[in-house]
Amino acid sequence: MNTQRTLAGVHDLELVTLGRTGDRAAFGELVRRHSSAVRALLRRMGADGATADDLAQDAFLAGFEQISEFRGEGAFRTWISRIAARSYARRWRREARAELLADGPDADDPQAGFGVGVGADARIDLDDALKTLSDPERVCVSLCYGVGLSHAEAAAALNAPLGTVKSHVKRGLDKLRSHLSPDGDGGQRRQVSG
């Protein structure tokens, strides 16, 4: 507890440097700071709660092993989120959902979101809006806008054709725009309920 208080004010990059020397308490502080974001991202990609937690744990353990590869060019959160997102993409691809990606259907496949107990409207809106996307659209949009992968990087992570990923992203964006814009479906629903 005392160590945690000491590390609370330390910058991420210094914690990473300590983590490189095998300091598990320092890495634990990084986990404490960024685990919520990683878990939320995985849920937004479509993972259920338990899967998201397992994958997030594995991502942090992998991050600890590979920490020498983090050169501090971007934020630690982005780096660890990309490890987790790629891991989910691999798993998603394995679990017989690849044909969905190849066929590019528009069918909705709503899954549990992370919105429970969330205070900010924007977060609830995004979680709700993502539920209106098909599985492939949700994964592709999350890879590109949740962790900032390019279309090509997302295609490589999913082992899918670039054109397929681009079309899923475009369809997903159109649905999100329609749901999240003030005059879209989501806005109308909020006005009605409000």
Partner: protein, 126 residues
């Protein structure tokens, strides 16, 4: 990735994530798994070292190296007793006091220990 204001807004919305209420518990679990992995690694390295030591000792004994070493030791002891001890006795104690060969062995061992300490100190300084 973002090219329009909507896409920037979407990236910002993704970046905003709630602090999970069980954040501390989650952290504890990850650190526990890190510690377990670390301990397992240390045990594995120790066990491999012990196993390597046992195999090495077995090979040395099997090859009859210990007998050869003992023979060399006896030869060295004889040489020291015949030549070095007499010379050292003559140099250090002209009055005829005899310097035992065991004292020379002891002095050699102490010199090696002192050199070891010196080397360790040097490494620490560097």
């Amino acid at each position: 990735m973002a090219e329009s204001s909507f896409e920037f807004q979407l990236e910002r919305m993704f970046a905003e994530s709630p602090a999970a209420p069980d954040r501390e518990l989650f952290t504890l679990r990850v650190v526990e798994r890190l510690d377990r992995g670390w301990t397992a690694r240390r045990v594995l390295i120790g066990a491999m070292g012990a196993l390597g030591g046992v195999i090495g000792a077995y090979e040395i004994i099997g090859a009859g190296v210990t007998g050869q070493v003992a023979a060399y030791f006896v030869q060295a002891n004889d040489f020291l007793a015949r030549h070095v001890a007499a010379s050292v006795s003559g140099a250090l104690a002209p009055g005829g006091i005899y310097v035992d060969v065991q004292a020379i062995w002891l002095a050699g061992a102490l010199a090696i220990v002192a050199a070891g300490f010196g080397l360790a100190r040097l490494v620490r300084e560097i």
